[in-house]
């Protein structure tokens, strides 16, 4: 059964099974709680930023997530991608991933940029699942925006 296997590839199964950077950690600058209203999946996610002089770095992302394979794996892959990046680059990744998700299976994802996240290309063929793949990203974006709004760093 090809489509199913390409949707739930090894990368997704692995990340869903062992979520990287899981758990809620201190210190953090902002927290966000996001819900998928269709199924009640939820993620609570914390972001810690670090001022590296001329740029702002994503120092840590920690989370607790209830969800399906797609949603758990996407959050895990996301943390791998953004932790350590500067905030602007991480936001660009977010945008790239968002575009991929809305591509309806048409986009050629940039593996150099998205790394493991290219494994989610198959999800874009199933519009009902896009929200699953985006739940963690949305929470991250929201928490980061809050951290910035609250004037980090001051």
């Amino acid at each position: 059964m090809m489509p199913l296997e390409s949707l739930y590839g090894e990368v997704i199964k692995d990340h869903a099974a062992s979520q990287h950077h899981g758990g809620l950690r201190e210190p953090f600058d902002a927290e966000a709680h996001h819900v998928n209203p269709v199924c009640g999946d939820q993620v609570t996610l914390r972001v810690a930023l670090k001022d590296a002089g001329d740029e702002l770095i994503v120092a840590d992302v920690s989370y607790e997530a209830l969800g399906c394979q797609i949603s758990k794996a996407a959050t895990s892959v996301m943390t791998d991608l953004v932790i350590g990046k500067n905030v602007g680059d991480a936001m660009a990744l977010h945008d790239e991933f968002l575009a991929l998700m809305h591509s309806r299976g048409q986009a050629q994802p940039d593996e150099g940029l998205l790394e493991d996240a290219v494994a989610f290309a198959g999800v874009s063929k199933y519009p009902a699942r896009i929200k699953c793949a985006l739940l963690g990203w949305m929470a991250w974006k929201d928490a980061t925006a809050r951290a910035l709004e609250e004037g980090y760093p001051q």
């Binding site: 819900v35 209203p37 269709v38 199933y126 519009p127 009902a128």
Partner: protein
């Protein structure tokens, strides 16, 4: 989009109902599109195609049919939004114009604070020209909240008396709700000007576009309104679907109206939170087949070109104003020319009651509407109890206008008034 005149013969071929005969074996002359339009084959096919191939509850299933239904529904939303120059998320599907206007009126009494909250001392401004759908909901809002209803008068020529406009919009006016085209006189009030005056004093503006969106190009940005309401069934689409356009930031700030499934974010017994618009205003399994039908209607109208639609109706209206105007004992309600006037032509036939006029026309196969057409105060303002209304659409012909004039003369002879 074609700019030229409509090919009415070809258009008529798309409307199965137009070939039927009515009383006394007469061909149908349908001049009641103001009540509801007929639907072309393309719209009926789109609905049927949805039911036969893709039927499913949109926004729910994680299965293929559910996905297709969601695409059909959201595709229709995008199409309708483009048709009126709105953002996709600014289009809320309702069941009709009536629900759309009630939605705004109830949201204003549901709001416990903020921009939408209405209370004693606040004012709602409407006009004497309104269809009951844009009148009674505001009366009810005032009853619920203690606000005061005020209204602009209609001049004897069927136009709004705009001298009153500035003084009537006070610092307490919360919303100005006005028709964008009268369903009785065809009058097209200067909504843009009214909106500007309202906004200058901090009031919101809602246009009842039930009779404008089907008949003329409408762009919400040009109009400058905050809300716009219309019905699918008057624009070649199915029953059971209507539209509320609302400016994004306003919908965002508005409390919900109808509540239930799929408009919620989190539900606990103790309380619930709600999704962003448009979902916030669309509880329940959506009317996807009707949305698909409405999308096909928009395609059909776009194919004809709304400018051409308006031009065709203007020419029929001019013809009707002439042909009816020259009949002794016939008084045309509202503007005597096609300037700022759409294709609803209502007349008073001296000494013949509209029901009796309508009865004679019906025997001749001519379908018009008789009564006050859900605009009773407007009839009072024009000094008539009721009227006989012909209203035109893309499939009507000049021959039908002649038949109408002939029919009215016949009625006069029949009742011995001519």
């Amino acid at each position: 989009m074609t700019a030229g005149p409509l090919d009415v013969a070809a258009i008529r071929g798309d409307f199965p109902v137009l070939v039927r005969t009515v009383r006394n074996g007469r061909p149908l002359v349908y001049l009641d599109s103001g009540a509801t339009s007929h639907k072309p084959r393309q719209v009926l096919d789109a609905e049927r195609e949805f039911y036969e191939r893709h039927n499913s509850a949109a926004h729910r299933g994680t299965h293929l049919l559910g996905e297709e239904a969601t695409d059909a529904y959201e595709g229709a939303r995008a199409k309708v939004a483009a048709f009126i120059g709105a953002g996709t998320d600014e289009v809320v599907f309702t069941k009709n114009t009536t629900e759309a206007i009630n939605l705004v009126a109830y949201a204003m009494s549901n709001a416990r604070c903020g921009r939408f909250a209405v209370g004693p001392g606040d004012e709602i401004l409407i006009t004497e020209m309104e269809h009951h759908a844009n009148l009674v909901p505001w009366q009810q809002l005032c009853e619920r909240t203690g606000a005061t209803l005020r209204w602009l008068a209609v001049a004897p020529d069927g136009r709004l008396d705009l001298d009153d406009l500035e003084p009537m919009i006070t610092g307490r006016t919360r919303i100005v709700a006005v028709t964008h085209q009268s369903n009785v006189t065809g009058t097209i009030p200067p909504v843009t000007e009214i909106a500007r005056a309202a906004h200058a004093r901090g009031a919101l503006v809602l246009a009842d576009a039930a009779q404008s969106v089907p008949h003329q190009p409408v762009d919400v940005t040009e109009l400058g309104v905050d809300f716009l309401a219309f019905s699918g069934h008057k624009m070649l689409g199915p029953y059971g679907i209507g539209v509320l356009f609302g400016r994004g930031e306003l919908l965002e700030a508005m409390p919900p109206f109808l509540t239930g499934g799929s408009m919620i974010e989190v539900v606990r017994m103790e309380g619930s939170t709600f999704l962003p618009p448009p979902q916030r205003f669309e509880p329940g399994v959506p009317a996807v087949a009707q949305a698909a039908g409405l999308a096909a209607a928009v395609d059909y109208l776009t194919g004809l070109g709304m400018a051409s639609v308006a031009a065709h109706e203007e020419s029929l209206t001019a013809h009707a104003l002439d042909a009816l105007g020259e009949i002794n004992g016939v008084r045309i309600l509202g503007p005597a020319t096609t300037k700022d006037r759409g294709g609803a032509v209502s007349v008073e036939v001296e000494d013949v009651h509209p029901h009796d006029v309508g009865q004679v026309l019906d025997e001749l196969g001519i379908a018009v509407r008789t009564g006050h057409h859900c605009a009773w105060p407007l009839h009072r303002a024009l000094g008539v109890q009721a009227s006989t209304r012909a209203s035109f659409y893309v499939y009507n012909t000049h021959a039908e206008v002649d038949a109408l004039a002939e029919g009215i003369r016949y009625a006069q002879r029949f009742f011995g008034t001519a």
